[in-house]
């Protein structure tokens, strides 16, 4: 049954990209357990505004786990302790009365903090711009059923494509590596005939952009896949490696 809980909220506050940040602890009282984590933050923010203080800034938008905007590192886990869910899909019934909840931003050199818990994930866009597409112009497509694609490949491509670009993989990785993100996009296109034509060019371009932007190297710890809110699989990384090694060997 629903009940109310009280707890300490330890939040990273940072006024701007170049300012120094620190943790601030707030006492939060009587939160119904059917409140979502972000609604709880809304309540805390309302209280801060009432006191004339600036609210805690965090990224959020759709609040149904698909836009990839929310990005909180809660109690040592990106998107908090729930598996296969984003921060906005996290409900307070996961927490206990009296505990301390620590909320941090994604910490990665490639994702600088903008304010408080909000980070700049533009690096992900840049990787996609480097090659995450099929090069053809609007209107030039043939009939959608002209090329049959096996259901197995289509389903696997769909699984890879369900990445929401939130950056939890980078946040979870002790190396700050973006391999799971890059591999998901590379895999989606590698699995479909439409993407094969420029597969080699794509994997080289996206990977070199990823390296250039200062993401770390993958050491296959698997933390990315374990924390991914969309359950993107680790095998995508192997596929990315295979695509890359084959592309380089055929140069």
């Amino acid at each position: 049954m629903e009940k109310n809980i009280s707890f300490k909220l330890k939040v990273w506050r940072q006024a701007g990209p170049k300012e120094k940040g620190q943790f601030v602890t707030y006492d939060v009282n009587d939160i119904p357990t059917d409140t979502s984590f972000l609604e709880m933050l809304d309540i805390v923010n309302e209280q801060l505004i009432e006191k004339g203080e600036e609210p805690i800034v965090f990224d959020h938008d759709c609040r149904e786990g698909i836009c990839g905007m929310c990005s909180l590192y809660v109690n040592g886990h990106p998107h908090g302790p729930a598996t296969g869910a984003t921060t906005c899909q996290l409900y307070m019934r996961r927490f206990h009365d009296g505990e301390t909840i620590t909320v941090e931003p994604w910490r990665s050199a490639a994702f600088p903090v903008i304010k408080d818990l909000m980070v700049n994930r533009n690096a992900f866009d840049q990787i996609q711009q480097a090659g995450g597409y099929v090069s053809f112009n609007t209107g030039g497509a043939q009939d959608a059923n002209a090329i049959p694609i096996s259901k197995v490949a289509a389903d696997e491509a769909m699984d890879s494509a369900s990445c929401i670009g939130c950056g939890a993989c980078v946040a979870a990785c002790k190396n700050g590596s973006a391999m799971l993100f890059v591999s998901a996009k590379v895999s989606q296109f590698a699995l479909l005939p439409q993407g094969r034509a420029e597969a080699k060019k794509r994997v080289k371009a996206m990977l070199s952009k990823m390296d250039e932007l200062g993401f770390g190297n993958c050491t296959n710890t698997g933390a990315c896949a374990a924390e991914c809110p969309k359950n993107i699989k680790l095998s995508n990384i192997s596929r990315l490696n295979r695509e890359f090694v084959c592309a380089k060997c055929s140069d």
Partner: protein, 218 residues
């Protein structure tokens, strides 16, 4: 050159050298096993792998493998620490599916490295090195006797073996993953093969070390 300037290339180098070292360890364990059966036969193997050109070449390649593996490991770790950013997490938790070894490969590697130096001092420095320098090498049997004649060497070796075991249980499947040889099914298979491989090889080493200690020290 993509093997140095791309992240996947660097991992490929780690994988190839790592697999090579696993292969070497396997042969090493098998050669040692000869001593379990007959010390004379073991002596013959040692003589065969003296300072001949092929043994020297083998040693050089092996040393190269080690050096590259270690240098790349340090290089990658430095890059990875930089990628993590200046602020560390206040709280971090390891997800259940993440192996402890996978997040501590550098520490394990450093333990293995220390063990390696000790081991080189015990054997290589007394056998192949003098021969290269034109001195008279110690026989394999004598080297075993001097080393394992002291009982306290055994626990040190066992700790080294354990570190290598942890290192390989992750390193084995990780190498295939980095080379792109894995998929959803084969990740699990490689993990399983890697676990058994590491257990059999390191188990064999452990049995050998125990046997030599029993034989020479007790």
């Amino acid at each position: 050159m993509w093997l140095t300037n791309s992240s996947v290339g660097r991992k490929v180098v780690m994988s190839v050298t790592g697999l090579f070292l696993i292969l070497f360890l396997t042969f090493h364990a098998l050669m040692n096993a000869v001593a379990l059966i007959s010390l004379d036969a073991y002596e013959a193997v040692c003589e065969f792998l003296g300072a001949n050109w092929y043994a020297l070449l083998g040693t050089a390649v092996l040393a190269g493998g080690f050096v590259i593996h270690i240098i790349y490991a340090l290089w990658l770790t430095l890059q990875n620490r930089k990628a993590r950013g200046d602020d560390r997490y206040e709280v971090s938790a390891r997800p259940k599916t993440v192996e402890w070894a996978s997040q501590n490969m550098l520490v394990l590697g450093l333990i293995v490295l220390c063990f390696l130096f000790l081991h080189l001092y015990h054997f290589w420095a007394k056998m192949q090195l003098p021969e290269i320098l034109g001195d008279f090498p110690m026989s394999g049997k004598n080297a075993l006797a001097t080393t394992f004649g002291q009982w306290w060497i055994l626990p040190i070796y066992l700790i080294g073996f354990l570190a290598i075991w942890f290192h390989i249980t992750h390193g084995f499947w990780s190498a295939f993953q980095s080379l792109g040889a894995a998929n959803e099914k084969w990740i699990e298979r490689f993990k399983c093969i890697g676990w058994w491989w590491a257990t059999i090889v390191m188990g064999l080493f452990a049995i050998e070390a125990c046997y030599f200690t029993w034989f020479f020290a007790l």
